[in-house]
């Protein structure tokens, strides 16, 4: 009996797998250490990933009068409130510091990716606990769950980006070819969000504390990331510090590519490196913790 086409098959695990019955079976034994096979399994279960993300997207604004308009409304109102306060009260002179970009559009361009990041981190942190029922009853690579939770925030981002284009028209900011970099930068945002979210989702299974830690941390994080303020207000010699934040260089780069200002590739590179590092660590913890999810959740 061949199992080569079956998607439920798992490669032998551990250093010396016991002799499989016919050389192609699933070997179930205590798991130790790291395995690279997790990512392969994720790929094999990409359809489940898709359906879970689709479920979140479909369910998100069910039975709301405004529907997907909420995706637009939230960042838009936030932009108005923040630009009223920071644009006027604190009076950051945007005209000088960001090459003539009006503050509302500067803010909105950074707010959207930040909200995408923060929603993804929150959703993936809670994802395993929210889907506990599935974890206890069916086998599938557990990694699918936190990863799929990026779907709905991504959809929100796409919808509210339409408003971004409208704002650009309003302020006569013409998109440039640089906009083509956007998918790449959004991907880096996903990597950063997953790096944080995957590890935290595993921790939340054992310690529900993180459900409360995360929203608070994200609020602080929001203010230390150049979302509402331009990096130019910080002294040049501390810039490297800002970029150790995986979202620091990324938000700047996304804003630059949308508004057509020069992209700081050094900053972007550093932030990307940190994001990838976080992801590797998150995956490592997830791998380690995964074997007891079904027993603990």
């Amino acid at each position: 009996m061949s199992t080569s086409s079956s998607i439920g098959r798992v490669l032998p695990v551990g250093s010396s797998p016991p002799k499989a019955v016919s050389g192609s079976g699933i070997v179930l034994r205590p798991r130790l250490g790291l395995r690279a096979s997790e990512l392969t399994k994720l790929w094999r279960y990409r359809e489940l990933l898709f359906f879970l993300a689709l479920r979140d997207v479909k369910v998100r604004y069910k039975q709301t009068a405004l529907g997907a308009l909420w995706a637009v409304l939230q960042p838009f109102v936030m932009m108005i409130v923040l630009s009223t306060f920071f644009g006027r009260v604190i009076d950051i002179n945007m005209e000088d510091k960001t090459s003539g970009i009006p503050y509302p559009i500067f803010l909105y361009a950074g707010l959207l990716p930040w909200m995408f990041f923060s929603a993804t981190v929150t959703a993936s942190t809670n994802s395993l606990v929210a889907n506990a029922n599935m974890l206890r009853k069916v086998y599938f690579p557990r990694l699918v769950v936190p990863v799929a939770s990026a779907g709905a925030p991504l959809m929100d981002y796409a919808v509210s980006f339409a408003v971004m284009l409208g704002l650009m028209g309003w302020y006569h900011v013409v998109p440039t070819v640089q906009l083509l970099w956007l998918p790449l930068f959004v991907f880096v945002t996903i990597v950063a969000a997953m790096g944080v979210g995957i590890g935290l989702s595993g921790l939340t299974v054992s310690f529900r504390d993180f459900r409360y830690v995360v929203p608070f941390t994200l609020q602080v994080w929001f203010f230390v990331t150049p979302v509402i303020w331009p990096v130019t207000i910080v002294a040049e010699k501390y810039h490297w510090l800002l970029r150790l934040n995986p979202m620091g260089g990324t938000i700047e780069a996304i804003r630059a590519c949308v508004l057509g200002t020069p992209i700081d590739w050094g900053a972007m590179g550093l932030s990307t490196g940190i994001a990838v590092l976080t992801l590797v660590m998150g995956l490592a913890y997830f791998n380690y913790a995964e074997r007891r999810f079904a027993d603990v959740v």
Partner: protein, 419 residues
């Protein structure tokens, strides 16, 4: 190629007792406890690592067996014997603590009917979602979609969110998705056997069909007649270990005669029973089956059910009626019997506080299976005592007369024919 498709060797699964408490603790507590546990200062040998012992529990230990291709194997044992843990390990939901199992082929387990169903999504969307959770590809679901919908009989409501479905419709839809999986190895938990009688019949029918198609089936159940009918081989688990394995009849009879003896008594203490309620004037202390089979709360199908209830009268109560009810495990009432008739001519007053026994003998015609015994005491319109699940009674297909095991339905009836 060997035809052994499941090979289990020295499999063990350890759980920590008191796990609940540990999970609720906060991070700092967990960290400090971990350090405290790991490093204990002992004067002579210095820091040493202390192992957390004593509060461990082996749900499975040293389990060995093989299953060949096309076999239907029944896994039986009392509650807590490790059956579900074994199925969870074999379907990869949880990892074993020691030993290993080799499973050759795609495993689908029907312990998860309807897992991942989302109330806001439509029937159609849920079929796709649930199918992909169970490991079907999108193309597979697409080709079988009409079949699945036909089988479930909910085609008219396919584009309605399932939160508007009746629970029966959700069950049917969920089962039809699961039934259209085509795994090489099918794992079925008895959890499946809930729902109405028609649904149970459908499940068992599906089991028959699968077994006949030559697929490998693992079947966990308490329903011995179903296990006997569907399986060729059996594995008996007792306290996480294989106590017997072999021909199904041998294993099931061993289950009756040997393992259960003394484990479940025919007398049940109800003083702490959770399912009781009432005004406290009367209390049922215990219930006993006077004619048990193999010293269990089980009775042969051709014997009357003879129950003795020990009751305590706290306050005098007038005009008392005692009632015994019989329900299926899915709460269908099979019968109720009362100590008084409808005109209350058989009046009983309990004027003396104290303890006394109430004995009832019930001639029944129940078929083999499990039933919940309901106890009730009332006075006029007032409920003095009610216990929806005082005991679980098994009616056995073993008796002085031969049991007709092809018989379906809850009860059997005497019949005269002229042909």
């Amino acid at each position: 190629m060997s035809d052994v498709v499941i090979q289990v060797r020295d499999l063990g699964k350890k759980y920590r007792l008191g796990g609940q408490k540990r999970l609720d603790q906060t991070l700092p507590e967990a960290i400090s406890e971990k350090f405290k546990g790991m490093l204990n200062w002992s004067g002579r040998s210095g820091w040493r690592i202390e192992k957390d012992q004593g509060n461990e529990f082996w749900a499975l230990r040293h389990v060995n067996f093989d299953v060949r291709h096309g076999e239907a194997v029944g896994i039986i044992g009392r509650n807590g014997a490790g059956k579900s843990t074994l199925l969870k390990i074999l379907s990869q939901i949880t990892d074993p603590t020691e030993g290993h199992a080799v499973v050759d082929g795609r495993v689908a387990s029907l312990l998860e009917v309807g897992t991942g169903f989302h109330p806001e999504l439509t029937g159609r969307e849920n079929v796709y979602l649930n199918g992909s959770i169970l490991g079907m590809t999108r193309r597979e679901i697409k080709t079988k979609f009409d079949e699945i919908v036909d089988f479930s009989g909910v085609e008219r409501f396919l584009d309605t969110p399932i939160k508007r479905y009746s629970s029966g419709m959700i069950m049917r839809l969920a089962f039809s998705v699961a039934a259209h999986l085509e795994p090489e190895i099918l794992v079925i938990d008895e959890v499946l056997a809930v729902g109405d009688a028609a649904f149970q019949k459908k499940c068992l029918g599906k089991m028959d069909e699968v077994a006949k198609q030559g697929r490998t089936v693992l079947f966990v159940s308490h329903n011995m007649s179903a296990v006997n009918r569907l399986c060729q081989r059996g594995i008996l688990l007792v306290d996480g270990q294989v106590a017997a394995a072999g021909e199904i009849e041998e294993v099931t009879s061993r289950y009756y005669h040997d393992v259960n003896q003394g484990a479940q008594t025919p007398q049940i203490d109800l003083r702490e029973c959770r399912s009781r309620h009432g005004d406290g004037e009367l209390e049922v202390l215990s219930v006993e089956l006077l004619n048990p089979y193999a010293n269990n709360f089980a009775v042969s199908w051709d014997q009357p059910i003879r129950l003795k209830a020990r009751i305590r009268v706290n306050k005098p109560v007038r005009d008392v009626t005692f009632a015994v009810g019989c329900r299926t495990l899915d709460y269908v009432t099979v019968f109720n019997v009362y100590s008084n008739n409808i005109h209350h001519t058989n009046r009983v007053d309990l004027s003396e506080p104290g303890e006394r026994d109430v004995v009832v003998s019930i001639d029944h015609n129940l078929n083999a299976g499990f039933y919940n015994v309901v106890l009730g005491i009332s006075s006029g319109q007032r409920v003095c005592y009610h216990n929806e699940m005082a005991a679980q009674l098994e009616v056995l297909d073993i008796g002085e007369q031969e049991y007709h095991d092809k018989r379906r339905g809850l009860i059997h009836c005497a019949s005269q024919w002229s042909i």
